[in-house]
């Protein structure tokens, strides 16, 4: 039976030759992931079920990234609870303090997720790893508890939408603009329960950082997973990182899709998603002047070194508008260190930006840049729901690092082409 890349990976992990959309399977998982918000509940459920040992201490990954460096006593207690569990279970990949980074930037960077893997994580943006040609999907804490104890998880095989990105990319348009445009086109439930398979000549040329930004936001269209077939760019990325074997899967030419959508990228200009849904997408140039109070560049969507290179290129030699607070949050210690080496952090600081330790922090309204009532923020993050970054009457505008950087200088939402 012809299979999509997603079906191939699911079938392999379920010990089958092929699977069909709608079928329930109980595949093995290669990585079970949790963070400081979702792991405490998972650990409680794990113990309540009478489990005493994780199925494989090298396949459970716990990343304390959301409210760290711990923002208050409760958060510190949650992390302590997870830390004690990690010690007791001798979890190899427990990250806190100097080793911690935003999980979905950290795991690929360390080679913990590789092509062909099946990853489940108690974090909705677990779908990021699809950029490596892996199946990955977000679940809740009880699912994580089940996976930690049995090494398996029930899944319904999703049907797939194939997106084919064609045409020439306009200047300053990258993966973030493509995915915001796509979500704007299909809506926040446009791929509900489905696979978003991203393909086409434009995707084939995109660097890994842009691919991660795209698969990262599959969940914002309701998708179960986002996935890109591994190619030379993928292999170049994992070459120095892979410490174990991996499998490269491809979709069969005659694989079946619920829908095929072609997107002409030459029509896409830098995008912004307006409050309060990621699907509320517009081209920056269509907007009237929207004054802002804050800019955040970071997160599992756009906190990679390439993102900071773009932002620094735009900001270099300029000043952040005096009405704007600019927060630079490298997603991982390696990104931080590389940005330091390349002089990027100095560029941001000279311009009037603030550099923070790696954390999810403001993206989910945790800490490190919370908004007051009526304040507006341009963020390279992934959600702009009511109250997402603070007060329910504050507003988040989602955009690329290029648009975020230009907006920080201008003091209102602006494309990079508006700077001299």
């Amino acid at each position: 039976m012809p299979q999509t890349i997603t079906e191939r990976i699911l079938a392999y992990h379920a010990g089958k030759k092929a699977v069909e959309p709608g079928e329930f399977i109980e595949p093995k998982v290669d990585i079970a992931l949790g963070n400081d918000v979702t792991s405490p509940l998972a650990i409680k459920e794990f113990r309540k079920a009478g489990a005493t040992k994780v199925f494989d201490r090298s396949k459970v990954v716990l990343v304390m990234d959301h409210f760290t460096p711990n923002k208050d006593i409760n958060s510190a207690e949650q992390v302590k609870f997870v830390r004690e569990f990690a010690r007791e279970q001798k979890i190899k990949n427990y990250f806190e303090g100097a080793t911690v980074g935003v999980e979905h930037a950290l795991l690929p960077e360390l080679g913990l997720v590789l092509p062909g893997d099946l990853v489940i994580g108690a974090d909705s943006h677990t779908c990021t790893y699809g950029a490596l040609g892996a199946f990955s999907s977000g679940v809740g804490s009880t699912d994580l508890a089940a996976a930690m104890s049995t090494g398996r998880l029930w899944l319904k095989v999703p049907s797939a939408i194939k997106f084919i990105y064609k045409g020439k990319l306009n200047k300053w348009v990258g993966g973030k603009d493509l995915i915001l445009y796509t979500i704007g086109m299909i809506g926040v439930d446009g791929a509900l329960y489905q696979t978003m398979e991203l393909s086409g000549p434009v995707i084939e040329k995109l660097p890994m950082s842009d691919r991660f930004a795209m698969t990262n936001m599959a969940i914002e269209a309701g998708g179960k997973n986002g996935i890109i077939q591994p190619d030379a760019i993928t292999l170049e990325y994992i070459k120095k990182r892979a410490g174990r074997s991996y499998k490269l899967y491809r979709s069969d030419p005659d694989a079946r899709y619920a829908q095929v959508i072609e997107i002409d990228c030459s029509k896409i200009q830098p995008q912004v998603s307006l409050p309060f849904l990621p699907s509320n997408t517009k081209a920056v140039r269509e907007l009237k002047r929207i004054d802002i109070d804050q800019v955040v560049i970071g997160s599992c969507t756009n906190g990679r070194i390439e993102d900071f290179r773009i932002a620094a290129k735009i900001i270099k030699g300029k000043k952040v508008n005096p009405n704007v607070r600019l927060f630079i949050i490298p997603a991982t210690p390696a990104v931080y260190s590389q940005a330091l080496k390349e002089g990027l952090l100095e560029i941001f600081m000279n311009a009037g930006g603030v550099v923070s330790a790696p954390t999810c922090g403001p993206c989910l309204g945790g800490h490190m840049g919370i908004l007051a009532s009526g304040e507006r923020c341009v963020a390279t993050t992934n959600r702009n729901f009511v109250g997402r970054m603070g007060h329910p009457k504050s507003e988040v505008y989602l955009a690329s690092p290029a648009v975020a950087a230009a907006s920080a200088v201008k003091g209102y939402i602006a494309g990079p082409d508006t700077l001299r």
């Binding site: 918000v37 405490p40 509940l41 909705s124 804490s141 104890s149 029930w154 329960y193 945790g366 009511v386």
Partner: protein
């Protein structure tokens, strides 16, 4: 969840794409204590909700209920607030899984969503999937769960279900 379970309560009607940030804002996620989470249920959507809602009441919403974050704290807060459950046209997939896994009754029913108004008295039979609107004297039928999930619900949650199965390892 016991057999022949009939749930009774009034409806609180909301729109589409009610996300988990609205159901339980992240500022309260520094605890996983159900009682604490219950106090802030639906807070960023409707600050009055927790004052209006009585034990046994239902949230009735349109499409894609529970979209956004994977936080299980969202269905936990609804359950701990004493609500009977949720009736919607569709659910975001992680919220759907989480609700089944923790034993929060959720039903999918287009007709119910179209006809139910805030304040309607409802009676829901989880076994048959029948939603009786006592105010309007109407009956709607929810989609039955796949057998696989009915088993999880019958066992009282995912981990109980796993415990009841012979080990595969």
């Amino acid at each position: 969840m016991s057999k022949n379970m009939i749930l009774k309560g009034n409806a609180h009607k909301y729109g589409s794409n009610i996300n988990t940030d609205e159901i339980i804002p992240a500022r309260y996620l520094n605890t996983s204590d159900p009682a604490e989470l219950a106090k802030h249920c639906m807070e960023d959507l409707d600050t009055e909700f927790i004052k209006k809602a009585r034990a046994g009441d239902f949230i009735v919403a349109e499409d894609n209920f529970g979209c956004g974050s994977s936080r299980e704290h969202a269905p936990v807060s609804i359950k701990a607030a004493g609500l009977s459950g949720v009736i919607a046209r569709s659910y975001a997939r992680i919220f759907f899984r989480n609700s089944i896994n923790i034993g929060l009754p959720i039903l999918e029913c287009d007709e119910a969503v179209q006809k139910i108004k805030t304040g309607d008295a409802l009676e829901v039979d989880l076994v048959t999937g029948e939603i009786r609107n006592l105010t309007r004297k109407e009956v709607y039928r929810a989609q039955p769960f796949p057998e696989f999930m009915q088993e999880i619900i019958k066992k009282g949650g995912l981990l109980e279900y796993i415990k009841s199965k012979p080990s595969k390892r």
